[in-house]
């Protein structure tokens, strides 16, 4: 799909350049001929509207992908912990690294956020985009409001392992009530790294922001040396 979009974008660009150049050649005509009118229709209405539609595909569909969340620097600690920290015990990392969610890992849990969903969710998405670009945010970022545990229930409802735990029944009743007071996180631990680890200056922050910065421990360094020497021997 991405390749088709790229090709369409390049086609739009080429056609637009040709049409706008031809329109410029006709700029001194007092009366517009049928051909020029058709060019105006295509160059200023049809193709730009098509470009907006293709762009909105990314706004509403591609933003569901976890890599889209990861592309914002401010989300990097959450995404990198989820994707690359093999020792992490956060819920997000366990779900991602064990392949419990097939696709759209971030969006599956945060289904009530972003450019999809309710008007409030859309406004939140636009507000975050605005704050990110204008750099009017402070790290560590904090979740405004409360996570809706019914998002967990959406996947876990009816699963054998979930239904087998008797303690889940009163929790589900509580979650379904109008004044839910229980969160899945109360028993199942943090969803993402603690705010302190996501604060600039913390020893984990550097590599949580960019996993390439992870320092190799002495043990790992010895393993790397051994691997390289084995490789050199095998090539001989």
């Amino acid at each position: 799909m991405e390749t088709i979009l790229d090709i369409l974008a390049v086609v739009i660009l080429i056609v637009e350049v040709i049409l706008l150049y031809k329109l410029r050649q006709n700029r001194f005509q007092e009366k517009l001929t049928g051909g020029v009118r058709a060019m105006v229709l295509v160059a200023i209405i049809l193709f730009p509207v098509l470009a907006v539609m293709l762009g909105n595909y990314h706004v509403f569909v591609t933003t569901k992908e976890s890599t889209a969340c990861q592309s914002c620097h401010v989300m990097a600690p959450m995404a990198n912990d989820m994707m690359f920290d093999t020792k992490s015990q956060t819920l997000a990392a366990r779900h991602y690294q064990n392949g419990w969610i097939a696709e759209h890992e971030c969006y599956s849990c945060h289904a009530d956020y972003g450019f999809q969903g309710t008007m409030k969710a859309k406004l939140d998405g636009y507000r975050h985009l605005m704050r990110y670009v204008t750099k009017t945010y402070e790290e560590p970022i904090r979740y405004r409001g409360e996570f809706n545990s019914m998002n967990c229930y959406g996947c876990h409802e009816g699963s054998r392992t979930f239904e087998a735990v008797e303690e889940h029944q009163p929790v589900v009743e509580n979650l379904k009530s109008d004044d839910a007071s229980i969160s899945c996180l109360n028993c199942h631990g943090r969803a993402h790294p603690e705010p302190s680890r996501r604060t600039p200056g913390h020893e984990d922050y550097k590599w949580l922001s960019n996993p390439k910065n992870k320092e190799i421990s002495v043990k790992d360094a010895n393993e790397v040396k051994e691997y390289i020497s084995n490789l050199a021997v095998s090539k001989k």
């Binding site: 790229d6 739009i12 329109l23 762009g55 933003t63 889209a68 592309s71 985009l129």
Partner: protein, 62 residues
């Protein structure tokens, strides 16, 4: 032809942002697409449609 000069400029600005965003989406291009490119193209389309409407009413077709 001067009539569509502003519209053409707005479309050029809109596409200059939209095309890179479609090819390589990222947060900054997304911001520009949502808050700059889309309004520019929307205004251009509305201005052209307004011209078409004026032409049609002038020639008693509407």
């Amino acid at each position: 032809m001067r009539k569509v000069f502003i519209e053409a400029m707005l479309v050029i600005i809109g596409l200059a942002i939209s095309i890179p965003y479609i090819i390589n989406p990222g947060p900054i291009l997304m911001f520009l697409f949502v808050f700059v490119a889309q309004p520019c193209i929307a205004v251009a389309v509305m201005l052209v449609l307004w011209e078409v409407y004026k032409d049609l009413t002038k020639s008693n077709l509407l």
